[in-house]
Symmetry: none
Subunit: 221 residues, 4 copies
DNA sequence: GATGAATGAGCCTTCATTCAT
DNA sequence: GATGAATGAAGGCTCATTCAT
């Protein structure tokens, strides 16, 4: 599996030029928004705080994003797209066997670029706000459905190829919600276990579902 | 299994007496807070909205709860306690075998009094707000640890009694995060599946972990 | 003619009670809004300025009026109603002859309670803002039409009773726009003439329209 | 009477050359300001909106006019000068008799180039803003005084030549404020009468003042 | 207990103005 | 000349909190 390259550069200590290109400024602000959502949650994420994290004035944030609502929507778009590219890249790099594909998808969700406290918290901030649910559906519904359908197809291929007799829908859902549940744990627990342990836990569950595959030799690297 | 009785009465159409007992007023306000968290999310839940739902003035809400922060803390206490009583009651009513206890605990989490859109949304509202994480830990950390330890003990008993060789920590965690992941699904999906299907999904996963138990005959009733 | 009594009490030096009745507060704020419109114009009238003039916090202004837009609408309602009561009271107190009625209506428009710098400027602030035109029509259109129709009827009565052969529409319009034009002068000129001179000017114009009436003996007193 | 030629060209669909002469750019921006004042009113007229109407960037608007305040002042200068040229041209083209001069002045004020919704609204925007009153006096006071003195002189000539015995000040004022009052009507009314009807109304009033002149044969052409 | 007037901190947003390119 | 990124003052509005009644 090839990890997706980081989509935006990390902020450097070098003094940025006073005026930046439109795209670079927007990426910088979106990253600051993710950090703010993670640190302060949805309700305390303010334009002023985002601007301060990006080292610019609040006016400039709105100059680039028009409104706070739009900023949040574009931030959600960004992490959704980042997530989609991550798993699709991992899937493309995996072999043709369904077991390799499942493994690739699981590993992708715990990859360092994705399974970051900030990223997880940002997701959770959107999940936790009922008001953002229509926004979430509009921006992520299709992606989530695509992920799910992909996983269902792979589980069906496991049945066809290896003689399992699972309900593909339910099996795919189990894999997905195990990952999500572990993500939630990583955020919620005061002293969470490691990402590696989370990965091992999903693998344990997956191995239970497909006992003749996913031998214990695989680790997250 | 005996379902835990509802801890607070549902709001009736009958106008409440102008002067209610302290406890009844407080319960009424807490229920209104849960509804507001579910309907409007953490960031849009206001004292005024809670008061309107409870049919009283905002002044009275703060008279009873001192501050909004305290109101939210007590609301969290309430649902945490409600949740604790629910699973402990279910566990007490279950038989002595670990498989019966696991089944009771799972069923309890999908019981109608607990697995309500409002309840789930309220939980999620707290999870999504990083600012409330210390609060959450302070109020729910002990409960969550107790639940987890209980589940670990039961899983260890499954090993001892029935010859399974699982890591009890990891197995207990799997059962717990499957439930949480399904809860998240129920809230996040635009058109979620039924609670019964969610229950069946956990049971499928549990059955995979303990293949010689949890036969398909059990339904959520 | 009996001058309409002032509809709201002038602010006194006596320290007002910390909390006032709803109506008295609202009247106080509306008067402050009129003053602000007169002093600063539409574009510089802010909620904060109105609040400062009323000696209260901006929050309280919005507590009573919900929004700035609504405050302006209610202020317009207020002066429109004040104006309507003023001329209708004057008309009711006038005799039955159309010449007495015309005289009463003209005098009413230059009465001290109406023809105030603040009142005139407030009207002009609404006229000058295209954005407020729909608001103006919605709130004042009916009143203005009523005034105009009344004047048309009186002019028709002048024809019928005294043998004039004017177009009643045009004559009524002339009387009305002479008054409005003089109001505009009183506001626009750096060193305007007196209200009495404005009144005499309208009377001169009216006398020209009805040469056998409105002898020079009438003054505004 | 010869109508004053339009002082600035109407905007054409043809894209203007990227670099225009200084004067042409300034005229273009001033015309855009008039339109913005008319469409959006004083309080909603922004540099950005003016720039958009002129098809240039807001930076360029301020490059040419230094500040918004100065832009508004120059716009006022422009319409004041346009107005002055309009009536002075009309007056110069009129005959030597005072009755011809009065007629020419009245007609000039309802000429198509002057009595435009945009022009009227722009005037009204300035009148309605008390803050702009010093500006108005500084820029238009002399013009207005000149107009008034001219009209007073003409009314005095009417007396001398034709045996009327009016107060020239008051008569001149009546003619002027009738025109202004009708302008106000044209802007304020939801469904105003035509400009021609407004002109006829002034003529009716003028005829009443000078019964032996201004026979009904004259129309606005 | 209970209400609702009152305050003020803090939010989102607009917009005139500056200035690097 | 010309653009548009960038700033920051100021405005409308929300809402937790206080407090007189």
């Amino acid at each position: 599996m090839t990890a997706a390259p980081p989509l935006i550069e990390a902020p450097t200590d070098a003094k940025p030029p006073r005026t930046q290109s439109r795209d670079s400024r927007r990426a910088q602000v979106i990253e600051a928004t993710i950090q703010s959502l993670a640190d302060r949650g949805f309700s305390r994420t303010t334009v002023t705080d985002v601007a301060a994290r990006a080292g610019i004035s609040h006016g400039l944030v709105l100059f680039h994003f028009q409104s706070k609502e739009n900023l949040l929507a574009e931030t959600l778009d960004f992490i959704a797209e980042e997530y989609r590219i991550n798993w699709q890249t991992a899937l493309a790099a995996a072999g043709d066997t369904p077991e390799a594909q499942i493994l690739a998808l699981i590993k992708a969700d715990f990859a360092p670029a994705i399974c970051t406290p900030a990223r997880l918290s940002a997701w959770c901030a959107f999940w936790g706000e009922n008001q953002s649910r229509p926004l979430y559906q509009a921006r992520c519904g299709a992606n989530d459905a695509l992920y799910n359908n992909t996983m269902v197809d792979i589980c069906a291929a496991m049945n066809a190829l290896h003689g399992y007799t699972h309900d593909p829908e339910r099996t795919a859902r189990l894999i997905r919600i195990m990952i999500e549940g572990l993500w939630l744990d990583l955020m919620t627990l005061e002293q969470p276990y490691s990402v590696a342990e989370a990965y091992e836990t999903v693998m344990t569950g997956t191995r239970a579902l497909f006992p003749r595959h996913f031998g214990a030799g695989e680790t997250i690297a």
